[in-house]
Protein backbone atom coordinates (compact mmCIF):
# COMPACT_ATOMS: atom_id res chain seq x y z
CA UNK A 1 0.00 0.00 0.00
CA UNK A 2 2.98 2.23 0.58
CA UNK A 3 3.55 2.03 -3.15
CA UNK A 4 0.31 3.95 -3.57
CA UNK A 5 0.94 7.28 -1.89
CA UNK A 6 -1.80 8.78 -4.05
CA UNK A 7 -4.26 7.16 -1.70
CA UNK A 8 -3.13 9.44 1.08
CA UNK A 9 -3.03 12.65 -0.88
CA UNK A 10 -5.24 15.37 0.43
CA UNK A 11 -6.87 15.89 -2.94
CA UNK A 12 -8.67 12.64 -2.60
CA UNK A 13 -10.28 13.46 0.71
CA UNK A 14 -11.85 16.65 -0.54
CA UNK A 15 -14.04 14.72 -2.97
CA UNK A 16 -15.67 12.93 -0.13
CA UNK A 17 -15.92 15.77 2.33
CA UNK A 18 -17.25 19.09 1.25
CA UNK A 19 -16.38 21.42 4.10
CA UNK A 20 -18.61 24.34 4.95
CA UNK A 21 -22.04 22.83 4.58
CA UNK A 22 -23.99 22.19 7.76
CA UNK A 23 -25.33 18.67 7.12
CA UNK A 24 -21.82 17.48 6.35
CA UNK A 25 -20.51 19.10 9.48
CA UNK A 26 -23.11 17.41 11.63
CA UNK A 27 -22.41 14.15 9.92
CA UNK A 28 -18.68 14.48 10.42
CA UNK A 29 -19.24 15.50 14.01
CA UNK A 30 -21.34 12.43 14.74
CA UNK A 31 -18.90 10.25 12.88
CA UNK A 32 -15.98 11.65 14.82
CA UNK A 33 -17.67 11.01 18.17
CA UNK A 34 -18.73 7.48 17.26
CA UNK A 35 -15.85 6.18 15.18
CA UNK A 36 -12.65 7.78 16.45
CA UNK A 37 -12.67 5.99 19.83
CA UNK A 38 -12.23 2.74 17.89
CA UNK A 39 -9.04 3.76 16.13
CA UNK A 40 -6.89 1.43 18.25
CA UNK A 41 -9.21 -1.47 17.44
CA UNK A 42 -9.09 -0.69 13.71
CA UNK A 43 -5.32 -0.32 13.76
CA UNK A 44 -4.91 -3.55 15.75
CA UNK A 45 -6.89 -5.60 13.24
CA UNK A 46 -4.94 -3.97 10.40
CA UNK A 47 -1.64 -4.94 12.07
CA UNK A 48 -2.70 -8.56 12.39
CA UNK A 49 -4.18 -8.79 8.89
CA UNK A 50 -1.39 -7.01 7.02
CA UNK A 51 1.54 -7.85 9.33
CA UNK A 52 3.25 -4.56 8.49
CA UNK A 53 3.08 -1.37 10.59
CA UNK A 54 3.12 1.16 7.78
CA UNK A 55 0.64 -0.77 5.62
CA UNK A 56 -1.57 -1.00 8.69
CA UNK A 57 -1.46 2.77 9.15
CA UNK A 58 -2.43 3.35 5.54
CA UNK A 59 -5.25 0.82 5.77
CA UNK A 60 -6.62 2.35 8.98
CA UNK A 61 -6.62 5.80 7.42
CA UNK A 62 -8.30 4.55 4.26
CA UNK A 63 -10.85 2.75 6.44
CA UNK A 64 -11.83 5.97 8.20
CA UNK A 65 -12.12 7.87 4.94
CA UNK A 66 -14.34 5.22 3.42
CA UNK A 67 -16.36 4.96 6.60
CA UNK A 68 -17.04 8.70 6.66
CA UNK A 69 -17.95 8.64 2.98
CA UNK A 70 -20.43 5.81 3.56
CA UNK A 71 -21.58 6.91 6.99
CA UNK A 72 -25.12 7.30 5.61
CA UNK A 73 -25.28 3.53 5.20
CA UNK A 74 -24.50 2.94 8.87
CA UNK A 75 -27.73 1.65 10.40
CA UNK A 76 -27.03 2.22 14.10
CA UNK A 77 -26.05 -0.41 16.64
CA UNK A 78 -22.43 -0.89 17.67
CA UNK A 79 -20.19 0.88 15.16
CA UNK A 80 -17.09 -1.19 15.83
CA UNK A 81 -18.10 -4.24 13.73
CA UNK A 82 -19.16 -1.91 10.92
CA UNK A 83 -15.76 -0.18 10.97
CA UNK A 84 -13.86 -3.45 11.16
CA UNK A 85 -15.81 -4.81 8.18
CA UNK A 86 -14.68 -1.79 6.15
CA UNK A 87 -11.12 -2.22 7.36
CA UNK A 88 -11.21 -5.85 6.33
CA UNK A 89 -12.30 -4.87 2.81
CA UNK A 90 -9.46 -2.37 2.61
CA UNK A 91 -7.05 -5.10 3.67
CA UNK A 92 -8.39 -7.51 1.09
CA UNK A 93 -7.83 -4.92 -1.61
CA UNK A 94 -4.28 -4.67 -0.31
CA UNK A 95 -3.85 -8.46 -0.58
CA UNK A 96 -4.93 -8.25 -4.18
CA UNK A 97 -2.44 -5.48 -4.80
CA UNK A 98 0.31 -7.50 -3.21
CA UNK A 99 -0.45 -10.15 -5.80
CA UNK A 100 -1.87 -12.56 -3.33
CA UNK A 101 -5.35 -12.90 -4.74
CA UNK A 102 -8.28 -13.28 -2.41
CA UNK A 103 -8.21 -16.99 -3.17
CA UNK A 104 -6.86 -18.21 0.20
CA UNK A 105 -9.94 -16.92 1.97
CA UNK A 106 -12.39 -18.58 -0.36
CA UNK A 107 -10.56 -21.87 -0.27
CA UNK A 108 -10.67 -21.83 3.48
CA UNK A 109 -14.42 -21.43 3.37
CA UNK A 110 -14.86 -24.91 1.97
CA UNK A 111 -12.00 -26.18 4.08
CA UNK A 112 -13.59 -25.07 7.32
CA UNK A 113 -16.73 -27.05 6.54
CA UNK A 114 -14.99 -30.24 7.56
CA UNK A 115 -13.55 -29.56 10.95
CA UNK A 116 -11.42 -32.50 12.00
CA UNK A 117 -12.92 -34.62 14.78
CA UNK A 118 -9.81 -34.23 16.84
CA UNK A 119 -8.53 -30.72 16.66
CA UNK A 120 -5.34 -31.58 18.49
CA UNK A 121 -2.91 -33.52 16.36
CA UNK A 122 -1.67 -36.85 17.69
CA UNK A 123 1.78 -35.42 18.34
CA UNK A 124 0.25 -32.78 20.55
CA UNK A 125 -0.90 -35.44 22.97
CA UNK A 126 -3.60 -34.80 25.48
CA UNK A 127 -4.27 -31.09 25.79
CA UNK A 128 -4.63 -31.48 29.52
CA UNK A 129 -1.30 -33.21 30.03
CA UNK A 130 0.58 -30.01 30.82
CA UNK A 131 -0.71 -26.47 30.82
CA UNK A 132 0.49 -23.80 28.44
CA UNK A 133 3.51 -21.80 29.45
CA UNK A 134 2.90 -18.07 29.56
CA UNK A 135 4.66 -16.29 26.72
CA UNK A 136 5.46 -12.60 26.50
CA UNK A 137 3.20 -10.33 24.45
CA UNK A 138 5.60 -10.04 21.51
CA UNK A 139 5.92 -13.81 21.13
CA UNK A 140 2.18 -14.33 21.47
CA UNK A 141 1.52 -11.67 18.82
CA UNK A 142 4.02 -13.29 16.47
CA UNK A 143 2.38 -16.70 16.91
CA UNK A 144 -1.04 -15.27 16.09
CA UNK A 145 0.39 -13.44 13.09
CA UNK A 146 1.65 -16.76 11.70
CA UNK A 147 -1.80 -18.36 11.61
CA UNK A 148 -3.44 -18.79 8.21
CA UNK A 149 -5.57 -15.74 7.47
CA UNK A 150 -9.12 -17.11 7.88
CA UNK A 151 -8.31 -18.47 11.33
CA UNK A 152 -6.19 -15.50 12.33
CA UNK A 153 -8.92 -12.98 11.66
CA UNK A 154 -11.65 -14.75 13.64
CA UNK A 155 -9.26 -15.37 16.51
CA UNK A 156 -8.16 -11.73 16.62
CA UNK A 157 -11.77 -10.52 16.37
CA UNK A 158 -12.77 -12.76 19.26
CA UNK A 159 -9.80 -12.74 21.64
CA UNK A 160 -8.37 -9.29 21.05
CA UNK A 161 -11.22 -7.19 19.63
CA UNK A 162 -13.74 -8.88 21.92
CA UNK A 163 -16.50 -9.16 19.32
CA UNK A 164 -19.45 -11.54 19.71
CA UNK A 165 -19.87 -14.43 17.25
CA UNK A 166 -22.69 -12.56 15.55
CA UNK A 167 -20.53 -9.47 15.12
CA UNK A 168 -17.63 -11.54 13.78
CA UNK A 169 -20.00 -13.16 11.29
CA UNK A 170 -21.03 -9.66 10.22
CA UNK A 171 -17.42 -8.50 9.79
CA UNK A 172 -16.21 -11.58 7.94
CA UNK A 173 -19.43 -12.16 6.00
CA UNK A 174 -19.87 -15.83 6.85
CA UNK A 175 -22.47 -17.73 8.92
CA UNK A 176 -22.02 -17.96 12.69
CA UNK A 177 -21.39 -21.71 12.34
CA UNK A 178 -18.37 -20.99 10.17
CA UNK A 179 -17.08 -18.48 12.71
CA UNK A 180 -17.35 -21.14 15.38
CA UNK A 181 -15.55 -23.85 13.42
CA UNK A 182 -12.79 -21.48 12.31
CA UNK A 183 -12.29 -20.36 15.87
CA UNK A 184 -12.06 -23.98 17.03
CA UNK A 185 -9.55 -24.72 14.30
CA UNK A 186 -7.63 -21.52 14.92
CA UNK A 187 -7.23 -22.27 18.62
CA UNK A 188 -5.99 -25.75 17.79
CA UNK A 189 -3.40 -24.41 15.36
CA UNK A 190 -2.32 -21.71 17.76
CA UNK A 191 -1.92 -24.26 20.50
CA UNK A 192 0.41 -26.32 18.33
CA UNK A 193 2.47 -23.26 17.50
CA UNK A 194 2.51 -22.29 21.18
CA UNK A 195 3.78 -25.74 22.16
CA UNK A 196 6.48 -25.60 19.51
CA UNK A 197 7.58 -22.22 20.84
CA UNK A 198 7.68 -23.58 24.40
CA UNK A 199 10.02 -26.41 23.47
CA UNK A 200 12.29 -23.98 21.63
CA UNK A 201 12.68 -21.75 24.65
Amino acid sequence: MTAHPSMLQKGRFSDAISPGTTPDENKAERFRALALPHLDAVYTLARYLLRDPSDAEDAAQECYLRALRHFDTFRGGPIKPWLLAILRNVCRAEYARRGRAAAPLDEAETDSENVPETLWSASDGSPEATSLVRLDAETARALIAQLPEPFREVLVLREIEDLSYREIAQVVGVPVGTVMSRLARGRGLLRQAWRAEETQE
Binding site: P19, A28, Y43, Q61, W120, P127, D136, L183
Partner: protein, 248 residues
Protein backbone atom coordinates in the same frame (compact mmCIF):
# COMPACT_ATOMS: atom_id res chain seq x y z
CA UNK B 1 -25.66 -34.38 21.44
CA UNK B 2 -23.30 -35.66 18.79
CA UNK B 3 -19.60 -35.44 19.52
CA UNK B 4 -18.79 -33.75 16.21
CA UNK B 5 -21.17 -30.94 17.14
CA UNK B 6 -20.09 -30.75 20.75
CA UNK B 7 -16.39 -30.45 19.93
CA UNK B 8 -17.08 -27.15 18.18
CA UNK B 9 -19.77 -26.03 20.62
CA UNK B 10 -17.41 -26.29 23.60
CA UNK B 11 -15.65 -23.25 22.12
CA UNK B 12 -18.92 -21.33 22.12
CA UNK B 13 -19.36 -22.45 25.72
CA UNK B 14 -15.89 -21.20 26.67
CA UNK B 15 -16.70 -17.92 24.91
CA UNK B 16 -19.94 -17.46 26.82
CA UNK B 17 -21.91 -17.51 23.57
CA UNK B 18 -24.44 -20.23 24.47
CA UNK B 19 -27.79 -19.63 26.12
CA UNK B 20 -28.39 -21.40 29.44
CA UNK B 21 -30.18 -24.38 27.86
CA UNK B 22 -27.50 -25.15 25.28
CA UNK B 23 -24.74 -24.45 27.77
CA UNK B 24 -26.14 -27.15 30.07
CA UNK B 25 -26.41 -29.58 27.16
CA UNK B 26 -22.82 -29.04 26.08
CA UNK B 27 -21.57 -29.19 29.67
CA UNK B 28 -23.42 -32.46 30.20
CA UNK B 29 -21.85 -33.88 27.07
CA UNK B 30 -18.38 -32.74 28.06
CA UNK B 31 -18.77 -34.39 31.44
CA UNK B 32 -19.39 -37.73 29.80
CA UNK B 33 -16.93 -37.40 26.90
CA UNK B 34 -13.18 -37.22 27.55
CA UNK B 35 -12.45 -35.90 24.09
CA UNK B 36 -14.79 -32.93 24.39
CA UNK B 37 -13.81 -32.32 28.02
CA UNK B 38 -10.19 -32.00 26.88
CA UNK B 39 -11.17 -29.71 24.04
CA UNK B 40 -13.08 -27.50 26.48
CA UNK B 41 -10.19 -27.38 28.93
CA UNK B 42 -7.78 -26.59 26.10
CA UNK B 43 -10.03 -23.83 24.74
CA UNK B 44 -10.26 -22.21 28.15
CA UNK B 45 -6.55 -22.53 28.66
CA UNK B 46 -5.84 -20.94 25.29
CA UNK B 47 -8.17 -18.06 26.13
CA UNK B 48 -6.44 -17.55 29.46
CA UNK B 49 -2.99 -17.68 27.93
CA UNK B 50 -4.03 -14.99 25.42
CA UNK B 51 -5.79 -12.84 28.01
CA UNK B 52 -2.64 -12.76 30.14
CA UNK B 53 -1.17 -10.11 27.85
CA UNK B 54 -2.59 -7.05 26.15
CA UNK B 55 -2.23 -8.06 22.52
CA UNK B 56 -3.73 -4.91 21.03
CA UNK B 57 -1.65 -2.35 19.20
CA UNK B 58 -1.94 1.34 19.98
CA UNK B 59 -2.48 3.52 16.92
CA UNK B 60 0.46 5.93 16.48
CA UNK B 61 -0.32 9.55 17.36
CA UNK B 62 0.67 10.63 13.87
CA UNK B 63 -2.01 8.38 12.38
CA UNK B 64 -4.64 9.79 14.71
CA UNK B 65 -3.59 13.31 13.77
CA UNK B 66 -3.73 12.51 10.04
CA UNK B 67 -7.25 11.09 10.33
CA UNK B 68 -8.44 13.98 12.51
CA UNK B 69 -6.91 16.41 10.05
CA UNK B 70 -8.79 14.86 7.15
CA UNK B 71 -12.17 15.51 8.78
CA UNK B 72 -14.00 18.81 8.42
CA UNK B 73 -13.28 21.07 11.39
CA UNK B 74 -16.19 21.32 13.84
CA UNK B 75 -17.78 24.74 14.25
CA UNK B 76 -17.96 25.96 17.86
CA UNK B 77 -21.75 26.39 17.65
CA UNK B 78 -22.36 22.94 16.23
CA UNK B 79 -20.03 21.66 18.88
CA UNK B 80 -22.07 23.02 21.77
CA UNK B 81 -25.34 21.89 20.24
CA UNK B 82 -24.13 18.32 19.91
CA UNK B 83 -22.77 18.42 23.40
CA UNK B 84 -26.12 19.61 24.76
CA UNK B 85 -27.93 16.95 22.80
CA UNK B 86 -25.69 14.34 24.33
CA UNK B 87 -26.38 15.81 27.72
CA UNK B 88 -30.15 15.64 27.26
CA UNK B 89 -29.89 12.07 26.08
CA UNK B 90 -27.73 11.19 29.06
CA UNK B 91 -30.39 12.66 31.31
CA UNK B 92 -33.07 10.54 29.69
CA UNK B 93 -31.01 7.42 30.11
CA UNK B 94 -30.30 8.18 33.76
CA UNK B 95 -33.98 8.87 34.35
CA UNK B 96 -34.80 5.51 32.82
CA UNK B 97 -32.20 3.75 34.91
CA UNK B 98 -33.40 5.56 38.01
CA UNK B 99 -37.01 4.54 37.42
CA UNK B 100 -35.88 0.93 37.06
CA UNK B 101 -34.02 1.12 40.34
CA UNK B 102 -36.95 2.83 42.05
CA UNK B 103 -39.06 -0.12 41.12
CA UNK B 104 -36.60 -2.54 42.62
CA UNK B 105 -36.25 -0.52 45.79
CA UNK B 106 -39.71 -1.75 46.75
CA UNK B 107 -38.31 -5.24 46.82
CA UNK B 108 -35.25 -4.80 48.94
CA UNK B 109 -34.11 -1.26 49.45
CA UNK B 110 -30.99 -2.18 51.38
CA UNK B 111 -29.74 -4.65 48.83
CA UNK B 112 -30.34 -2.32 45.93
CA UNK B 113 -28.52 0.51 47.64
CA UNK B 114 -25.64 -1.87 48.08
CA UNK B 115 -25.63 -2.94 44.44
CA UNK B 116 -26.12 0.65 43.28
CA UNK B 117 -23.12 1.67 45.35
CA UNK B 118 -21.13 -1.22 43.93
CA UNK B 119 -21.88 -0.12 40.36
CA UNK B 120 -21.08 3.51 41.22
CA UNK B 121 -17.81 2.51 42.85
CA UNK B 122 -16.96 0.42 39.81
CA UNK B 123 -17.74 3.31 37.43
CA UNK B 124 -15.84 5.78 39.59
CA UNK B 125 -12.81 3.53 39.57
CA UNK B 126 -12.88 3.46 35.75
CA UNK B 127 -13.45 7.16 35.22
CA UNK B 128 -11.24 8.89 37.70
CA UNK B 129 -7.99 7.04 37.08
CA UNK B 130 -8.41 6.26 40.74
CA UNK B 131 -8.51 2.55 40.13
CA UNK B 132 -6.27 1.67 43.04
CA UNK B 133 -4.66 3.06 46.17
CA UNK B 134 -2.07 0.34 46.15
CA UNK B 135 -0.89 -0.38 42.62
CA UNK B 136 0.74 -3.76 42.43
CA UNK B 137 0.37 -7.05 40.66
CA UNK B 138 1.99 -8.73 43.65
CA UNK B 139 -0.53 -10.29 46.03
CA UNK B 140 2.02 -10.04 48.84
CA UNK B 141 2.06 -6.27 48.49
CA UNK B 142 -1.68 -5.79 48.07
CA UNK B 143 -2.86 -8.04 50.92
CA UNK B 144 -0.76 -6.44 53.71
CA UNK B 145 -1.74 -2.98 52.49
CA UNK B 146 -5.22 -3.55 53.95
CA UNK B 147 -3.75 -4.21 57.42
CA UNK B 148 -4.94 -1.51 59.79
CA UNK B 149 -7.08 0.10 57.10
CA UNK B 150 -9.99 -2.28 57.39
CA UNK B 151 -10.83 -4.93 60.01
CA UNK B 152 -10.82 -7.88 57.67
CA UNK B 153 -8.21 -9.72 55.62
CA UNK B 154 -9.46 -10.04 52.05
CA UNK B 155 -8.29 -12.98 49.96
CA UNK B 156 -5.96 -11.66 47.25
CA UNK B 157 -5.25 -14.59 44.95
CA UNK B 158 -2.72 -14.32 42.15
CA UNK B 159 -4.71 -15.34 39.06
CA UNK B 160 -2.24 -14.23 36.41
CA UNK B 161 -1.75 -17.78 35.16
CA UNK B 162 -5.53 -18.04 34.77
CA UNK B 163 -5.62 -14.92 32.64
CA UNK B 164 -6.79 -12.44 35.28
CA UNK B 165 -4.15 -9.87 36.12
CA UNK B 166 -4.13 -8.28 39.57
CA UNK B 167 -3.92 -4.50 39.22
CA UNK B 168 -4.12 -3.50 42.87
CA UNK B 169 -6.52 -2.63 45.65
CA UNK B 170 -8.20 0.28 47.35
CA UNK B 171 -10.56 1.10 50.16
CA UNK B 172 -14.18 1.81 49.22
CA UNK B 173 -17.59 2.13 50.85
CA UNK B 174 -20.79 0.30 49.97
CA UNK B 175 -23.95 1.41 51.73
CA UNK B 176 -21.82 3.14 54.37
CA UNK B 177 -19.81 0.03 55.06
CA UNK B 178 -16.04 -0.07 54.47
CA UNK B 179 -14.99 -2.70 51.94
CA UNK B 180 -11.75 -3.86 50.42
CA UNK B 181 -11.86 -3.38 46.65
CA UNK B 182 -9.57 -5.62 44.61
CA UNK B 183 -9.00 -4.79 40.99
CA UNK B 184 -8.26 -7.35 38.31
CA UNK B 185 -8.05 -7.00 34.58
CA UNK B 186 -8.86 -9.36 31.74
CA UNK B 187 -8.05 -7.98 28.30
CA UNK B 188 -9.64 -4.53 28.34
CA UNK B 189 -12.16 -5.46 31.05
CA UNK B 190 -11.75 -4.31 34.61
CA UNK B 191 -13.17 -6.42 37.43
CA UNK B 192 -13.78 -4.83 40.82
CA UNK B 193 -14.19 -7.32 43.66
CA UNK B 194 -15.67 -5.79 46.80
CA UNK B 195 -14.96 -7.75 49.96
CA UNK B 196 -16.91 -7.00 53.14
CA UNK B 197 -18.12 -8.76 56.24
CA UNK B 198 -21.82 -8.78 55.45
CA UNK B 199 -22.86 -7.39 52.08
CA UNK B 200 -26.60 -8.03 51.87
CA UNK B 201 -28.26 -11.37 52.36
CA UNK B 202 -25.85 -13.16 50.03
CA UNK B 203 -25.85 -16.95 49.90
CA UNK B 204 -22.69 -19.04 49.72
CA UNK B 205 -23.53 -20.20 46.21
CA UNK B 206 -22.54 -17.62 43.59
CA UNK B 207 -25.43 -15.59 42.19
CA UNK B 208 -25.21 -13.75 38.89
CA UNK B 209 -27.33 -10.74 38.09
CA UNK B 210 -27.28 -7.84 35.69
CA UNK B 211 -27.34 -4.35 37.17
CA UNK B 212 -27.30 -1.30 34.88
CA UNK B 213 -25.86 -3.47 32.15
CA UNK B 214 -22.98 -4.76 34.26
CA UNK B 215 -22.62 -8.36 35.27
CA UNK B 216 -22.60 -8.68 39.03
CA UNK B 217 -21.62 -11.90 40.76
CA UNK B 218 -22.02 -12.35 44.53
CA UNK B 219 -20.92 -15.13 46.80
CA UNK B 220 -19.85 -15.81 50.38
CA UNK B 221 -16.77 -17.62 51.53
CA UNK B 222 -14.76 -17.82 54.72
CA UNK B 223 -17.13 -15.50 56.60
CA UNK B 224 -16.78 -12.78 53.95
CA UNK B 225 -19.12 -11.46 51.29
CA UNK B 226 -17.81 -10.87 47.81
CA UNK B 227 -19.38 -8.78 45.04
CA UNK B 228 -17.63 -8.84 41.67
CA UNK B 229 -18.65 -6.17 39.13
CA UNK B 230 -17.50 -6.10 35.53
CA UNK B 231 -18.52 -5.62 31.92
CA UNK B 232 -16.91 -8.97 31.25
CA UNK B 233 -19.29 -11.63 29.87
CA UNK B 234 -21.08 -13.99 32.26
CA UNK B 235 -19.09 -17.10 31.42
CA UNK B 236 -15.73 -15.46 32.03
CA UNK B 237 -16.92 -13.68 35.17
CA UNK B 238 -18.17 -17.02 36.46
CA UNK B 239 -14.79 -18.50 35.65
CA UNK B 240 -13.16 -15.67 37.57
CA UNK B 241 -15.31 -16.45 40.62
CA UNK B 242 -14.42 -20.15 40.43
CA UNK B 243 -10.68 -19.36 40.25
CA UNK B 244 -10.90 -16.66 42.91
CA UNK B 245 -12.83 -18.86 45.34
CA UNK B 246 -10.56 -21.84 44.73
CA UNK B 247 -7.35 -19.87 45.20
CA UNK B 248 -8.54 -17.60 48.00
Amino acid sequence: MKCEDAIVLVHALADGELDAGHAREVEAHAEACTNCAEELAAAREMKNALAANDLRYAAPGSLRARIEGAMPKPQPVADRRTWLKGFALGGAVSALAASGIGFLVLHDARDDRLLGDAISAHLRSLQSEHLTDVLSSDQHTVKPWFNGRIDLAPPVPDLTAQGFTLIGGRLDFLDGQPVAALVYRRRAHVINVFVGQVLGAGSAAPQMQVVQGFNVLRWRKGGLSMIAVSDLNREELQEFETKFAAAG
